[in-house]
Symmetry: C2
Subunit: 368 residues, 2 copies
């Protein structure tokens, strides 16, 4: 493949079109049902059928009705490739997640997001192309391939980083795209973002009001813009409220690091009395560690999760969390994406609802 040395059209690969062996091509010989079949059935020309099916002028209402009936009766569907070849959109949008595949899967966030997107996409019969890759380079290669193959009409870029090479690359490809969670530099691509800063401020204010002064933040990957925003917000809040003893510890978002960092924090001489976790999975892992170490939650330790899902509700005590409706976020993102595909240039940055603090059972006045 021209892109990056390995791929579809390797010289030696003996002509595997899109990754299958050659044998596959032989397969289908059962001729498809085409527009011409309908035309024959109804007794008109193929173009008349096309007009009718697409609601375009050029056929009488009577003929149109007969054609539509015939199409329905014969269970005809337009061949997506044929349409796309004529310049029509591909009818699909793409999402690439760049993570080592084994560690993903436990985070409900993307799953929720995708399901939310689906409720918009399904309604419009737009397909979602999903790909999970290892790193950003592979992600870029997928974007280039999809763009070149004209497979997608739009892209969703997630987890924008502080200096994100994907933005410029995708802009260069000319594929409409939405950035999720960017609010800084993200080129000319519109973003759907949430006010992490405000959410963090609210959380810290609440914890401070309860009487906590030693607040720790088990953060995510510092490369992510939203992680940065949260770290900065905590620092600012600490300054405003006069909390001397706050800290943000970066992790890779995994439950393992979440647990390890918690263990470390709780072993310190001046252990924090409250911990804010950047993901619900890490919060649950942290709770597990606390339980295991005999640190009572919330009596001795308050826990807040910066993401909410069933996870925070199935454990005991139920975890206080910054909840946002991820499903609704997915809807919002998908709608923005549809919009930018249909009418490029009409979409600006969109601020999603700010995550709100849902107080459950894991937070209380600092004990002892």
């Amino acid at each position: 493949m021209p892109t990056s040395g390995s791929g579809v059209n390797k010289p030696g690969a003996a002509g595997a079109a899109s990754g299958y062996g050659r044998a596959a091509i032989a397969g289908k010989n059962k001729t498809r049902l085409t527009i011409a079949d309908i035309a024959r059935e109804v007794g008109v020309s193929p173009s008349a059928v096309s007009f009718a099916l697409n609601g375009r002028p050029g056929v009488s209402e009577a003929t149109r009705a007969r054609i539509l009936q015939a199409a329905e009766r014969m269970n005809w569907h337009p061949h997506s490739a044929a349409r796309a070849l004529g310049g029509a959109p591909a009818g699909a949008v793409g999402l690439v997640l760049a993570r080592p595949t084994r560690t993903l899967g436990a985070e409900p966030f993307y799953a929720q997001l995708i399901y939310g997107m689906q409720s918009v996409l399904s309604a419009r019969s737009v397909a979602l192309l999903l790909q999970v890759v290892d790193d950003t380079d592979a992600e870029l290669a997928v974007y280039r391939r999809w763009a070149g193959e004209q497979r997608v009409d739009g892209l969703l870029i997630v987890d924008p980083q502080t200096k994100d090479p994907r933005i410029a690359a995708v802009e260069g490809l000319g594929v409409p795209a939405i950035v999720l969670g960017g609010h800084g530099k993200h080129g000319d691509l519109p973003t759907v973002w949430a006010d992490d800063r405000e959410a963090m401020l609210e959380t810290v204010r609440y914890l401070a009001a309860l009487g906590h002064t030693r607040i720790a933040h088990v953060a995510g990957t510092p490369a992510f813009q939203h992680t940065q925003r949260r770290i900065r917000a905590l620092k600012d809040a600490a300054g405003q409220l006069g909390l001397a003893d706050t800290q943000s510890v970066p992790t890779d978002f995994s439950d393992g690091e979440g647990a390890a960092v918690t263990r470390r924090l709780l072993s310190q001489p001046d252990a924090p009395t409250a911990i804010v976790y950047d993901s619900d999975l890490m919060a649950v892992a942290g709770l597990g560690v606390a339980t295991e170490m005999g640190v009572r939650v919330p009596a001795e330790l308050s826990i807040v999760s910066f993401d909410d899902s069933v996870l925070t509700r199935v454990v005991h005590p139920k975890i206080t969390a910054l909840s946002r409706d991820t499903h609704a976020l997915g809807v919002q993102v998908a709608e923005a994406l549809m919009r930018i595909v249909e009418e490029p240039g009409t979409v600006g940055d969109i601020k999603a609802a700010t995550p709100r603090l849902t107080v459950r059972e894991s937070t209380a006045k600092p004990g002892r």
Copy 2:
């Protein structure tokens, strides 16, 4: 749309090809890079380029090299639609999940499965089309549409039910498909299945060996074949081992029902001393309820999850689970799917690894 009354080609819809508004079609006027451009560049005919790029005979090695270089230099990618139109495979496989979208997302199973599949699919540059719908009717409609539109080369059917209308429907469509978890009637479609029965038997034997006699099973949806197999296995095991007091309680797999059923079970006069949950999410929810009710795990109640993921490991006590490598299962499924796409008829039923009991901290001799 011909299929079921609502869809792409509604008469009044003014010709929205694949769901976008008409405006979208006007968009792209920047002409694509085509095979002809490469041909011109190199000074050969388009077909020579096609031969070269596909590794077919008909060009000299020297010319082939020049063409490949030019293609790479110009960053050319084949237009997927054009290829597909010529009869080549679509380069995509489809997966439909039929669940109310809001309740999904917390179950790591599908996410893990998908990520596992990706490691096979990505390597072959085969895309995954994902759609989440509400019910089986909608699922069938998606299959019909995808087949009609020639969007996918293969399908993965998950959660086979006792009398599953999808099997016959998909067979009728003539699209290669793999059934995940079927092991009963699933037509002529091959299945990748795990031996739930053996897993359940092993679990019950283990619990019985510990001394448990009152064993409850918080099952999933009875319509699913695998749920049925587990229920039957428990009954059989109870018979063999002389356990009088076992029961299976069906649920909808949600954490809510899992918690509710647990609460009910633990409130009975002769409460079970061990509970087997059909999903890790329900197991965690059950553990939460036990903790909340002051029932000590594992001292007073042993808990086993019939599915394993981070969830079972982040809580405290860590939950004993029937673990299988879902990621590996995804790999296996994707490989089977690729195989059946390439060479239909060569794939038989495949038995995946039997889930093995991973004993952690949530099981012990019945206490008091």
